[in-house]
Subunit: 404 residues, 2 copies
């Protein structure tokens, strides 16, 4: 006899739309007569271990809708990466609470957790349906056209660079913006969508999919600066040398800053600062400014793609439908079916779990410092409606009176 209990949790870094998926699961599950309880685990898998559950069946649909439109993980999240023993513990708690369906909203690591828990339940002969619901601003899940959370973060990055370009045009110099994404450059590449006029920035984009060579970087910046009198650069936090060593730590050594020797990639401004200092020192350009977009790019409230919102909602709803009608375990994936339309499918957990997608070669220009039109075509519809636009004066010059 069925307990009718399901559990949903959120893992990894928050996004602008991860609560849409949560609301999608909760509201859709509540429509099924067989479902008696919709539990939410607080702080991801850690909340499962700690039996820290809340009953979403007792939440109003009105408030679930309001929470859906609120960024960041409403249930709380965790950075825990469960090993087999941790997963065993998860399985035991789920079983103790007679959970029959487990929905975990997260990225690669989360999908691997779902895969292990699913396998353990199967081996024990306990009928647990495990569904992974995709979420990551890095867009690095294989088998997905794109992942919920990425479009809104990409929109933030595109808008940020559109603004930074205007600022840089008004007060010319070099501007370096460092964007999240350790292995996949999708989010950094989104900077290109902030560009409108041919001489707009970002003029150069450095992705983790390509080897970063400092001398080449400096030569690139010098050439753009010579041409336009200014230069806007988008840099992924994950740029590395041919051996895979992060540039942040290499540069730190070069400028003899031991204390920066082993820097974390996110949550500090080291990489931007070090690149700016290299430009100042080696190119002799005075006005050089660096920003690290940091947490703003994933949690800024009020910058969201409507396409991302509705898709994040749908992957949650579809997860429940796949579980209820299909009775299979798996990972929900977004499939592009037109320009622009999508559908959803349930992939095998093995096909997604623990794997990392990086930017396809067709999306990166031959120079390695720009994106292709294929990427623009890929990303533009994801950014959604109402993207702000930038306009310029085109006024006629006035003849000089005093000087020639």
């Amino acid at each position: 006899m069925s307990s009718g209990r399901i559990l949903v949790a959120q893992g990894g870094g928050p996004t602008a739309v991860i609560n849409q998926s949560l609301a999608g699961v909760a509201l859709e599950a509540r429509r099924f007569r067989d479902v008696t309880r919709v539990y939410g685990a607080r702080y991801g898998v850690r909340g499962i271990i700690n039996e820290d559950f809340v009953d979403l069946t007792q939440e109003t649909s009105q408030n679930l809708e309001l929470v859906a439109a609120t960024p960041s993980s409403a249930l709380g999240s965790t950075r825990d990466k469960p090993d087999a023993a941790y997963c065993q513990e998860i399985y035991h708690v789920l079983r103790a609470h007679q959970i029959e369906h487990f929905f975990y909203i997260g990225g690669n690591d989360s999908s691997d957790t779902v895969r292990i828990v699913s396998e353990q339940a199967r081996q024990a002969g306990y009928p647990l349906r495990c569904i992974h619901i995709p979420k990551t601003i890095d867009n690095d899940l294989v088998g997905n056209d794109h992942t919920p959370g990425f479009p809104s973060a990409a929109r933030f990055v595109a808008q940020a660079f559109a603004g930074a370009n205007l600022d840089n045009a008004a007060l010319p110099g070099v501007y370096v913006g460092v964007v999240m994404g350790r292995h996949a450059g999708f989010l950094t590449a989104a900077a290109a969508l902030g560009k409108k006029f041919p001489d707009d920035g970002p003029h150069l984009i450095y992705l983790p999919e390509r080897t970063f060579v400092l001398d080449q970087f400096l030569a690139d910046v010098k050439a753009v600066h010579a041409r336009y009198g200014r230069c806007v650069v988008a840099v992924s936090e994950g740029i590395h040398d041919a051996a895979g060593t992060p540039i942040a730590s290499l540069l730190a050594k070069e400028v003899e800053r031991d204390a920066h020797g082993n820097v974390q990639l996110s949550g500090n401004g080291a990489l931007a600062d070090l690149l700016c200092e290299a430009i100042k020192a080696k190119l002799g350009i005075k006005r050089v400014r660096g920003d690290t977009f940091g947490y703003l790019q994933r949690s800024f409230i009020g910058c969201v793609s409507d396409v991302d919102q509705r898709e994040a909602r749908e992957v949650g709803e579809k997860a429940v439908q796949f579980a209820m009608w299909g009775g299979r375990c798996g990972s929900v994936a977004i499939k592009r079916t037109g320009f622009y339309s999508v559908d959803y499918e349930l992939l095998e957990l093995d096909a997604v779990a623990g794997k990392t997608r990086v930017m396809e070669d067709e999306f990166i220009s031959a120079s390695g410092t720009d994106v292709t039109d294929a990427f623009r075509l890929y990303l533009r519809p994801l950014l959604g409606a109402g993207m702000p636009d930038a306009f310029r004066l085109r006024a006629a010059p006035v003849a000089k009176v005093l000087k020639r």
Copy 2:
């Protein structure tokens, strides 16, 4: 006989609405029959020296409206701070081009430039009307209730902290966000408007109007972290010790980083990084993240206050009206007349030029690390319509089965 020529220029740091003021001047001036030409100087006063003018009379009103809605200075800006000789040069160029009205959109330094040029023209007996149009995200112009550009930047800061608070609640730890404002703390204080529920961050706000004491800061963070298990902090880039020395350089010494010895306040992440390292080292808290809002806070496209937009437009229009109907030199100022309504007045240039307003004591709480309700009442209407709102789950806890 009148030449009918006017000149407008933009100075200092760009804002989200400075082009509204530009459009206000151009469109209003074009309505006057006596005005034959509306010139714009490219790159502020430097463009005047270089006779680098464009003819805004030949720009379409459609495009002027689109440019008005675009952030950053469409004419270009400058960081030049003219001395008497520089002003003399400005005056000579204006005279050579038979400019009769000079409108300069900018902050304190710009108002001082307008004052000197106006004085020089008067002494030379040349009939030049000089009007300063207020603009600064720092909100530090005396005689103004607030300055155009500040409300939109404040909105960005409030939204950024609302999001950072949600992110920090999902993945608890300490978050430090560094905000622009060297002498005046208004923009940093705007972080308080991102707070909704009583335990929301920012929990602590450090302003340049109060002396920063590192030990007290660490004690404050420790206390908040002990209470909520997390802590969100807003810090002004201008925080300093009792002697007025910037904390960035003090901390750099303390952690023995000579290369950071003499850091610039904006355009790098040094202060946030140093504060985060102090928290990690002295309080033993693991998850500590710092963001420096940098240029995003003044040039992000798509985050703007509608109140700011319309007021920035009006100070431009009023500047022309004061010049045409009043025939006086002066600085346009915003006066608050109700909750919420404003009117505009023309102040003497002497009353504004080169002076700096800081946050009034009534806006800062007794603790020195929060704002008062008077400040909330002051700022809220400026942020405009459609501020995003954050919602929480209020679901009932589920009883534990396994553990007690």
